[in-house]
Amino acid sequence: MTSRSYLYYPGCALQHRSHAYEVANQAVAAELDIELVELDDWNCCGATEYFTINRLPAYALVARNLALAAGQDGGDLLAPCSACFLNLYKTDRHMKQYPALAAKVNKALDAGNLHYEPGTVRVRHLLEAIITDIGLDELRARVRRPLYGLNLAAYYGCLIARPYPVFGSPEQPTMMDRLLEALGANVVPFSLKTYCCGGHMTQISEESAFEMIHRLIKNAAESGADALVTICPMCQLNLDIYQDAANKHYETNYFVPAMFFTQTIGLALGLAPDQLAFGQEFVSFAALIEKIQDAPPPRTRPERRPKQALPMPAMPEEV
């Protein structure tokens, strides 16, 4: 395999709050011969907040990153955070779609001696890049410690699936499901794959936030998941840091750790937990590592349907 190199936009969350994600990304990238070149002097994408305050400066804020990326020879720009991904992707796309907007944004960029031609930078999410560019076969071949016996729920969150269907279905994507299967894990059916984690609601209305967080951990636990696998620092934050509070609020006792997907990959690639910054999480991963078995669990025969049961419609394999 040839080594690949990408421009990389970590985003604010990965600097501290979700530093584990950054550590895991770098560790896994190194293991997969990928170079993640951090975009020099990047600025915050504005999250969902800046667009609330003032649209044009919000576009300009994001566009500065795109302009920098274009200047730093970036064809592809990888973002591991869903919000960053969406803001970068959306800004590029809107600028392309609405030339009047592009003109105004560029007028603003001009004040900083920058210019961005929409379409120059291809904004991608880290997960999509790993699956598309490396491929599941290659990944499967590199697994040194298959995650046998681990029941995982693939949690995509919202911004990656919507509104731009870069991940297949905006409702029931399967990209990460197949990734986790390739790592040897058992992927449990999880109905709330693309359900919102609550976003910033923790800061605004705890009630609302706890309700959303609680739904997710409840459904994951009831689906038999040992852990949730996330691809967004905000999702991980809400599910992890507020799990305890949500449990208290609803007087429940769920315990579902939320891992970053690169932490999961790293584990399967045989990296040590401290290489993947395990321990920064509130809901501990320790029990998970214990649970990994040496051999794949025996195949259970699918439950025999009663004779009078009606057939289920065939589901087409999602590509």
Partner: protein, 189 residues
């Protein structure tokens, strides 16, 4: 006899949202309201907000907590049978609410503003500052409980006490100032 009419809120919202004009073809089917993860806590469902907006109940629209409870998960947008950019419209309504002074009633607006303040000062967000400043000012009681979370985060090495700044801060400031100037011009026109 012609009177110069200021554009209605509906018109302004629709005009300043990409593809916002699709709101004209809203069927009032309620898919948005049903799809909203925080819909249960909203004073009006998104569908109702649009109906009110159309009917000219501007005050009620701007006073509503609905847009501030939008978590921008885009579930409504992708499901809308008329392909109306609902999430983006919510952003616009929030901006209008701020611009028209319906501002202090919503903690969410303050949160956004605090966040943006940090971004504008340093180019990056700064959680510790955000949490402390926002909560001390707006939720003094809640901040005690969240303070525990903060401490816990510190313990897990997930909170920095000192903010980071980008290198070319003047450049970013120049861009943002110019953008604000253009946006203000847009507002006038």
């Amino acid at each position: 006899m012609t009177a110069i009419r200021t554009p209605t809120l509906y018109q302004q919202v629709v005009d300043s949202t990409p593809d916002g004009h699709r709101l004209d073809i809203c069927l009032q089917c309620g898919t948005c309201g049903g799809s909203c993860p925080s819909g249960g806590d909203m004073q009006h469902t998104p569908r109702e907000i649009f109906a009110l907006l159309r009917a000219g109940y501007d005050d009620e629209v701007l006073r509503s907590n609905t847009p501030w409870y939008c978590v921008s998960c885009y579930a409504c947008t992708v499901r809308c049978p008329q392909a109306i950019p609902i999430t983006d419209l919510m952003y616009t309504i929030k901006q209008q609410a701020i611009a028209r002074g319906y501002y202090d009633q919503h903690a969410a607006a303050k949160f956004s503003e605090t966040f943006v303040g940090f971004v504008e000062q340093r180019g990056r967000s700064f959680e510790f500052g955000l949490a402390t400043r926002f909560h001390l000012f707006h939720h003094p009681l809640q901040s005690i409980r969240l303070g525990m979370v903060g401490l816990n985060m510190l313990r897990h090495n997930r909170l920095a006490l000192r903010p980071k700044s980008i290198r070319q801060m003047e450049q970013l400031a120049a861009i943002l100032n110019k953008a604000k100037e253009l946006a203000a011009k847009e507002m006038q026109a």
